[in-house]
């Protein structure tokens, strides 16, 4: 399935021509990565599954941040909605994972739809704070409803085997495979969406919302749709985490989780889809490795990494990579 040598990938910010969704080298890397990781690091599959889930969460944020230009510091609201939906279903007897996961996505999407009307208006800062307000209020709701959610103590439950046969094992193989398949399927969907005319119109709104009505594009409705889709995917990620850990903690809905996913996405590079996977992987693997050494070191080094990425380039790691690639090509062309 190797593609013909593709033309140099164009940075998505420049809309010189219609973006296509042909298979690129990045795709091969992305799709091979989980398989290789599975074979090379069989002892770290639980970490792997959590990286994949976080990457899916970051991917959901990329739709609104990287494409539609909506800044959210409260995306964990939908992650948490999904997690609690999946968790509560299982805790009350509906332990089948796949249907539970679908419910998580649907409920979170519904939550996103309802919230979107508060969010799509106002400046970037206002969006930031309203989404933040939503996540903080929702967290307080989850805490108050502790007879249902377990509050700060959390909610524990047991899942039925996947597809009725594959149980969630201690080594995390099921969790890993399940997360990888769901995340990659979501990736196919998102990739399809952002390369469609709808995705193009989102980017156009990001670049200049005031001009869009002149082209006949309903800005508000487009943003609502994007926000709903994004919330639904965040809910899927939350549902996956709940099911694979068989536990929902109240920090599923929290400001730190919202901020962390934003950092990971920006670190990887927003508006590029792959940035979500790269950022989540880089951040979490570094954090895991460094936290083993010392809690002080992990904070210093992660902080240093973020600072260095900004000092040496723009647009996260992928932004830096693209810049380097472009420079190389220019030199070769000479």
């Amino acid at each position: 399935m190797t593609a013909p040598p593709p033309p140099p990938p164009s940075p998505p910010a420049h809309l010189g021509h219609l973006p296509d969704d042909r298979w690129r080298r990045w795709d091969t890397a992305l799709w091979l990565a989980p398989v290789i990781a599975y074979l090379v690091f069989p002892g770290h599959l639980v970490l792997g599954s959590q990286v994949i889930i976080t990457a899916l969460f970051a991917l959901s944020l990329d739709i609104i941040l990287g494409y539609a230009g909506i800044v959210s510091l409260g995306h964990a609201a939908f992650f948490g909605l999904g997690a609690y939906t999946a968790g509560l279903l299982a805790a009350h007897g509906w332990t089948e994972p796949l249907t539970g996961l679908v419910c998580a996505g649907v409920i979170a999407a519904a939550g996103g739809y309802a919230t979107s009307f508060l969010v799509v208006r106002g400046s970037a800062l206002t969006q930031l704070m309203i989404t933040l307000g939503v996540v903080l209020l929702l967290q307080e709701v989850a805490n108050k409803a502790s007879s249902l959610t377990g509050g700060v103590d959390g909610l524990s439950f047991t899942m039925s085997p996947l597809l009725g046969a594959i149980r969630f094992d201690l080594a995390g193989r099921t969790a890993y495979g399940y997360s990888a398949v769901v995340a990659l399927a979501a990736f196919v969907l998102v990739r399809r969406v952002v390369t469609s005319p709808f995705g193009l119109s989102l980017r156009a709104i990001r670049e200049g919302a005031a001009r869009m009505p002149a082209l006949g594009a309903p800005v508000g409705r487009r943003l609502v749709a994007a926000f709903t889709l994004s919330a639904g995917l965040a809910g899927l990620a939350g549902g996956l985490l709940a099911q694979t850990t068989q536990f929902v903690a109240i920090d599923s809905i929290s400001f730190p989780r919202s901020a962390a996913v934003l950092i990971m996405l920006v670190l990887g590079g927003a508006g590029r889809l792959y940035g979500a996977f790269l950022g989540a992987g880089l951040f979490m693997l570094m954090q895991d490795y460094l936290a083993r050494l010392d809690p002080v070191y992990w904070q210093l080094w992660i902080g240093g990494l973020l600072v260095v990425v900004v000092l040496f380039g723009r647009g996260g790691v992928l932004g830096v990579a693209e810049e380097l690639g472009a420079r190389l090509r220019r030199r070769r062309a000479r």
């Binding site: 805790a91 909610l155 524990s156 594959i166 990888a180």
Partner: protein, 435 residues
């Protein structure tokens, strides 16, 4: 055009990955359990591995530091070899209040590192999330801090060496009712442990004839207590019962009480020892003088065991580490239990035999005599009534009287054997507030 190519490729890849992972999984789901079993069986000469999980960074970093301090003190005092086997401690940071990280670390420690014990667990969600790992991996799990009643019911491999909140707050209600206190307002942090404490105090206090004027709950993230303190003062109770987690909230509450002059208004302060944590007393300062609390440990406890512990703690952690507190003691005792188990098993580890020994553990800790209730695997200990006084110029919770051999009333109230409770119920279920 190109879409079909991409889609087809994508679907093929999804299918491949799914097949690879689930195929590998069916084969391996049976391997997981023997994996940890074989570690114990094949042990004999190697090291005894202890996996320690707690928060060392983020807002609860102090817990990890205290627990580790207690463990270090024990190892320093008793050496790192038991029954010919070296003790190796693998420390893992949950990087904050993150249950899924705690569970993942537990999984990795059990599956990869094949640890013989899981220890630590500062916060209830960390312990609850990791509980199934202890069960499935057949690894004894020693709770060194988390204090919600239900934890020990979540796995037959869990044993607790810290305390539960009902255990330390119930005696206070009893004492208050007997000592001329008629009307009390309560102020607790609005989460599981806070509600547990409120319920236990209210129950014993009203049973003794006391009256609760008002039950106020403050949000968990709450830097400013002025409104609550003022409200309590305006209600004119004889005393106020307080539980908030040790840390910035305890300091803030004490300062707020001092600023409002609650003591001058004749309102006594009753609290669980969390509020007057030995480690935090110097930070709280003279505002704490005269406060009454019930708790299972004070560094002022007068016994040779405690003197030895304090010396070992300073020795292992340096003078800069400050005072140990109840968390360090629980970690110290947990280590004592592990050493005892390894000694009795002659270095041949077996999870079920270890649990049998742990269930019947009983010794004199720096806090006084402690034992484990074989039914619930929860701690039985003496709870002391203390008053904050100046001893040689330093603030100490000085023990006034004691309530020996207390079990966890949170579980007695439920009366249920340690069967899994109704799914999804939080801590509140066993000790739900009466209103």
């Amino acid at each position: 055009m190109s879409h079909p190519t991409f889609l087809r490729a994508a679907i093929t890849a999804v299918a491949l990955i799914g097949a690879a992972a689930s195929g590998g999984c069916k084969k391996s789901s049976d391997e997981a359990r023997p994996a940890s079993g074989s570690a114990s069986a094949g042990a004999g000469a190697g090291t005894i591995k202890i996996g320690m999980i707690a928060a060392f960074s983020g807002p609860f970093a102090d817990i990890g530091k205290q627990l580790q301090g207690g463990i270090k003190a024990y190892v320093k005092q008793h050496g790192d070899t038991v029954a010919g086997r070296k003790i190796e401690i693998l420390t893992r940071d949950t990087t904050g209040p993150a249950a899924e990280v705690a569970k993942r670390l537990a999984q990795e420690l059990v599956v990869q590192d094949k640890v013989d014990f899981l220890v630590g667990f500062g916060l209830t969600p960390e312990a609850l999330a990791a509980a199934p790992v202890a069960t499935e991996g057949k690894t004894p799990m020693i709770i060194m801090n988390a204090a919600t009643s239900i934890i020990t019911t979540k796995s037959p491999y869990i044993v607790r060496f810290s305390m539960t909140l009902p255990q330390v707050s119930a005696p206070l209600g009893e004492w208050a009712a007997k000592n001329g206190i008629k009307k009390v307002s309560t102020l607790v942090a609005d989460y599981g442990p806070g509600k547990d404490a409120e319920a236990a105090f209210t129950k014993t206090f009203t049973a003794g004839g006391g009256q609760i004027l008002e039950s106020v709950r403050s949000p968990l993230q709450n830097p400013e207590f002025a409104s609550y303190t003022q409200r309590i003062k305006d209600g004119k109770p004889d005393a106020v019962f307080v539980f908030v987690p040790a840390g910035e909230q305890s300091v803030a509450v004490m300062k707020s009480f001092q600023e409002r002059g609650l003591a001058d208004a004749g309102i006594k302060l009753l609290a669980t020892g969390d509020l007057l944590d030995d480690h935090m007393l110097p930070t709280i300062g003279d505002a704490a003088l005269g406060a009454i609390s019930t708790f299972h440990y004070s560094i002022a406890h007068d016994s040779p065991e405690n003197k030895a512990f304090l010396a070992a703690y300073r020795d292992a952690n340096g003078a800069d580490a400050g005072q140990p507190n109840f968390m360090s003691v629980a970690a110290y005792d947990g280590m004592a239990a592990i050493y005892d188990v390894v000694e009795k098993l002659g270095g041949k580890m077996d999870a079920d035999k270890a649990m049998e020994l742990l269930k019947h553990m009983s010794f004199t800790s720096p806090r006084g005599p402690i034992s484990i209730d074989p039914e619930t695997r929860d701690i039985v200990q003496t709870v002391y009534l203390r008053k904050v006084e100046k001893v040689n110029g330093e603030l100490r919770s000085v023990e006034q009287s004691s309530f020996p051999n207390l079990k966890d009333p949170g579980k007695e109230a439920g009366g249920a054997p340690p069967a899994p409770p109704p799914a999804g119920s939080g801590s509140g279920s066993a000790a739900a507030p009466g209103k």
